[in-house]
Symmetry: D2
Subunit: 451 residues, 4 copies
């Protein structure tokens, strides 16, 4: 989103904004008076006028154009950090006499002053929402202004406390949900786009579909994250039947055995880094178990976000051990136009692609030693197991481009979640079904092996 041009622009206008802030001749400059206001808000000892002052700051902030906004962030980063003199004194105090009081003073002294500023801004009506939006803009700037990282980290720290799972409310989303909320579900869906209200209705209204969202009271009608669920008999291998329009027959919920989480979308970019997904899935599993005691399988049907780019990288690298020579030859077929519509072609690709996908999940690692796939990191980190790799699970343009149409199922087995999670958290071990593991073996070996 931030092109290099835009990045430089940011730098420039920030310089100018900063210049403006320093010049004393420009007392009317918005971001300067903003900073004064922030100083006042922080230094006031009572709450008598804090609410009004906080509202005033947020309203002025809202009118800033990009340049002054960056300058404001810069000021937050530099002028509202901790007070160095106080820190030095606190360190001396603690070293002299270690104890609760001196530790506490040191902790307080080393807290960036902007944290208290944000807590006070939160007093304003709509303050939480405004702060989440402010952080979005910090994130936008961050790509080009790494010096704002500490500011961003302070937001994450505060939001993690404010959006603690204990404060979240789970709500069932269906066709009797207010339109104002449904409209946001349409807008926020990030995995399988919701085209219009009819498409939405197909996902939330039929008896064999469910949708759940987390809300936070301070953002009232704005969901934080939501998941779409299909009730099925078996674990599905493809997304199209789930999203199909014109379904006439619905599975009576009592006959369902499998709950499929086929789409999970975060709604608030400004809350990136505060995780809800894990709690959402577990809460939904619990709620569905209570409503439909016969459900016994909880799986996702998930996209594979960068399998294609990874595979291209491996193919470009002649010494890659991810792909054997025979498979490498077959992959030339992927250049063929609409290869996934021609059975003669796609049948040849099936085994090599599944094998490569298995390698991608089980063996490929990023620099930090974790799986390459972000979605996999999320679910494996939650304690799920990689259950199945589905050939041509999604032939939408996007999925073909990202993953050659491959989709996967992650299985949430409540009895093993904890163990799987530990294995992943400690050793980055990818827990996978034997079916997935078997894909890795070269075809020839399949014959002699007994298992």
């Amino acid at each position: 989103m931030n092109t290099s041009f835009f990045g430089e622009l940011l730098q420039t206008i920030s310089d100018r904004g900063r210049a403006l802030l320093k010049r004393e001749r420009a007392p009317s400059e918005k971001s300067e008076s903003l900073i004064d206001l922030c100083d006042h808000l922080l230094s006031s000892r009572g709450e008598a006028s804090s609410v009004a002052r906080a509202a005033d700051i947020l309203s002025q902030y809202d009118k800033l154009t990009t340049g002054p906004r960056i300058a404001f962030f810069e000021a937050l980063a530099t002028r509202f950090g901790p007070d160095e003199e106080r820190m030095k004194a606190a360190i001396a105090g603690w070293q002299q006499k270690p104890g609760d009081d001196t530790v506490s003073e040191l902790h307080a002294a080393s807290e960036p002053r902007r944290q208290e500023l944000f807590r006070r801004l939160n007093l304003a009506p709509g303050g939480t929402r405004a702060l989440v939006a402010m952080r979005e803009q910090v994130m936008d700037a961050l790509a080009r202004r790494p010096d704002l990282a500490a500011l961003d980290a302070d937001f994450v720290h505060l939001f993690s406390s404010w959006f603690n799972r204990g404060f979240l409310v789970l709500r069932h989303i269906d066709w009797s949900t207010p339109a104002a909320i449904l409209e946001k579900i349409i807008r926020y869906e990030a995995v399988h786009q919701i085209r219009d209200w009819d498409d939405l209705r197909r996902r939330i209204d039929p008896p064999d579909r469910r949708c759940f969202a987390f809300f936070h009271p301070a953002l009232n009608d704005d969901p934080l994250i939501f998941v779409e669920v299909a009730l099925e008999k078996e674990i599905p291998a493809a997304i199209a039947p789930i999203l199909a329009s014109g379904r006439q027959e619905f599975l009576p919920p009592g006959q369902a055995r499998t709950a499929v989480f086929y789409s999970i979308s975060n709604c608030q970019r400004g809350l990136a880094g505060v995780s809800f997904g894990n709690f959402l899935i577990k809460q939904v599993v619990e709620d569905l178990c209570r409503e439909l005691p016969k459900l016994n399988t909880f799986v996702t049907l998930s996209p594979v976000t960068n399998f294609a780019s990874w595979l291209k990288g491996e193919l470009a690298n002649d010494s890659s051990r991810a792909v054997n020579a025979a498979d490498r030859a077959v992959f030339a077929l992927l250049d063929q136009n609409l290869w996934w519509t021609d059975p003669v072609v796609f049948d040849q690709l099936k085994e090599p692609l599944l094998r490569a996908a298995a390698f991608y999940f089980l063996n490929a690692r990023n620099r930090r030693g974790a799986p390459v796939d972000a979605v996999a990191r999320f679910h494996l980190g939650n304690g799920a197991r990689l259950e199945r790799i589905n050939w041509l699970g999604d032939t939408s343009e996007r999925s073909i481009k990202q993953a050659y149409g491959v989709m996967v199922n992650y299985l949430y087995d409540l009895d093993h979640i904890e163990r799987n999670h530990e294995a992943y958290a400690e050793n980055r071990e990818v827990v996978a079904s034997s079916a997935v593991q078997r894909l890795l073996r070269p075809p020839l070996e399949l014959v002699p092996v007994a298992g």
Copy 2:
């Protein structure tokens, strides 16, 4: 509440509890395994099992008897403070290279580990409520165990963030409010006891009565603080007509000009130190203004919590300049049984008592230089003005004992709140009406003065 006997008992059982914690032979001891669980919760890197573990800890905590509970608090205070080695390293790091990263590490290192522990405990269903209850028990212990002060301060710090005004919801309480909430209003009323459901109804159901409460979503049906309001024509001087049973005629709200806040009660002892009252009053003033645009006066009718004990102190001190000799002689009448029912007696007491009360509010100061009266500190700190001192405003046993029946009105004048607040916050100046100030003058002076 904590008698000396009980205090020593606490000390003793805490010693024993501590002993148990140290002995390795007692692995089954509840509070020890609790501490192990806390260690696990803090050290786990994923969230997979945190919710369950947090619930487990809170449930075990709930079963502790006093001794092990104090031992548990002690462990929180000593073993879950900051890590000294890490602090030393962080200090060295910062001194070597001051910057965002090293400050941030120092701030993190100096944060008592129990803060993160509490944040994780809050993941459990009902976690917030349980932590508020836990802090109540810390407060109970604190009187005898000042070493727990840092632990208590950590609770206040977290709760201040979690119960930020931005997360509070104002609700109108009336006769169509669920009984489960009304029951708590009855229980929590701390100023003028609500005797039964009929008494409650008289305070919330008539058209000229209002009640508002702040709620926090994590405590759902449990109010944090509430205020009872009477709509009147004039500023009232006594509480009895407001609380009277059997009122037949109600003031049509449209004819009211004065909103009287006659009772404000905090509900959650565990949230002591986190202030809501100021926000509540201002929000209610705003809401009432919108509903009844003809209201033009917002006052309290407030108790005077320790006027009597203060006056006794002054009378016992022969050199006190708070009471002149003539008044001092009259005050002997206060020893007379039921003095407030005998006009011959109470007429003599009126002027001296009002004069002493004016001195009590305007001149008397505690060690920190603030007014002696806690209720006065609250309202003056909010920017209210001491408007009137009412003679025999409340002849209930409690009020006679605390305040010789004196009540006062604090006036919230939105145009002056800010200024009053500043005057109080900076100089502890008590803003009072001229009527109150005039009470101070000795009677003789009253004659020559024209005004």
Copy 3:
């Protein structure tokens, strides 16, 4: 309630009221102008002003004192009946040419004009409630003024249509129900008095207690009828353990097998003759089955409303075959003070009393050939079975007086409801368990009789 004195009073004031209505000199008399207003409302052809006019009539009616009110009823009964001339013409029309049109005209002509009047009065805000109240007052007058019976019947006819089960809403009543509704539950409970809010809470708050009520949208917060349910393991034989205060242990609902309907109260006297109880019980049975699939027994624990007076009648009648000589002698013990507290005494009474009760239920009949017991008529008419007669089921003063402490269980067995109902509806057959039938047999005969 209507003593003879009051009855005559009614007659008198009605005469005077009527006089007033006739005199033309009293145009300001309330009930006369009322009747004019009613005439106007009935004759107006559009709806433009009907709502306001209806509201006006109801408000004037509300202010009538007893005399003019009776006069008003009289006018409704006489002047707002059908139009005789129109009827005669309609009869002639139909006789001449029978057909839809002439039938319809005859039906319309024979409808008392007050029915349309009531429909129009119902347009006013709160009209339904006002009409229900008006009918209550008609019922009060009816005892002494049988000429108002047709007026009363018209109310019942309209209310039966308006309060059709299709328009009723079932609501669960619990401790989170608004106090305004709970207050009415306390007031309306007619079987086992609810003493105060604590007593109420014991009946609706514990996990093994339920309460359900029917509401009609036009009466919003005012229940029509409600039932109190206890979840138990077995069919209970006495009421005291169900109503006991201080219960510490509650049956987990999942362990309950029996739902006991121990109190059913009609709330609106003005709706007497419109039956809801049958629908309420069946709806509650359905809802409980869905919530707690392990429930397999649905019974009442019911009072026996006039067993004692019936038995006294039989004992006074020397030729009664309801009581044999031996039992008759034992019944003298019933005159003993507090007989039910002395085991030596009550043990002797047990068998004779149970035998008499069985006779009372199985054989005794009122003039219309139906069981003597009103509660029995209700439940048997609904298709329940008389399951058990309980000795000393209720030793409250009222129950001892009404029924010598006897209580009974009626069993609702969904598989047999229809059949039981038919048997009762067609032949007044009392379906009873064999245990109840066996009670009838004299002890000696038990041996020789084959079955």
Copy 4:
């Protein structure tokens, strides 16, 4: 909708259906068993099984195809009318002894038995909705089967009682309304079609738009009628600015002086003949007055439903006095393609068309002596005044075709509603503003008049 072909088809299949009903050999035929079931339901004396039986009947009815359905209606019309013998006896009884009892019996005897049948069918869950749907189908058949008129009238009679205004609930419809309801608003809008959800949102979400609907509890989420309101400064003359997409500026509600009812749609065809619109408008006027006390003008912006066809009729009639010769010549321009887009053309048409429209409203009468225009009859009957005739108020295809683009405003002036209504109800007098009346005058007179 019912073409002649379809009409005859109805006749035929009805004959066949009737045949089936009569043959005793076809006991399994649906509509026959239906009639048996209805007989049972009517004859059963208790309610024990009525709910289930009613549900059964409605479910079987639902499966009927057209033929058997018509046969079923026929049976309702013929076999469930009043009992002739009973009527004769009742007549004799009344003639012999006129009185409440005999009148009541005559009224009961002359009530078609199907009315009680419908009341009992209404016991079933969803019964009301099913009966409304049944009546829709009766209406469809009615066009070709006038013998079903009495059946239809019975529905109207019952529905008028059940859907009494006293039972209706007004709800504000906005963007926070559940989607399930909004979807119906889109579907039911009958005046200015709502194209999609964005179009809907433009009508209910902006601060200067309102929508209100009446609901009946038995049809829960299905509105009966709704009205769309625009808040404006002045009385609007055209619909396009109101419906425009892309409006950026909204009138702050506090600045509005005029509430414009620009669309009123009945939702339930099966309730035709039961009027709600009058009550809806008056209730909305009241509610808006309370919310926005500065509103002082309440008008509609209404279509003119058959002005064009009326005018064509007059033009075809050479002796019509509705159009003078000069105007008649100008009207030839109406045949020109897209005449309303060419200022040269439409300027010539303006005065003649407005004059003709004034004649249409003020002088033209249908056979019953009422105004030709159905919308006018509705609003005038409610007591509104014809305020203004708007030239080219709506240039949509439909409006050009129906009314040559003319729209009108009806003014609801609360002070004159009653009087206007009386004038209309008694004399069919069309109350119109002087501006409208002036339009009638021939153009020549316009010159000398000064005003």
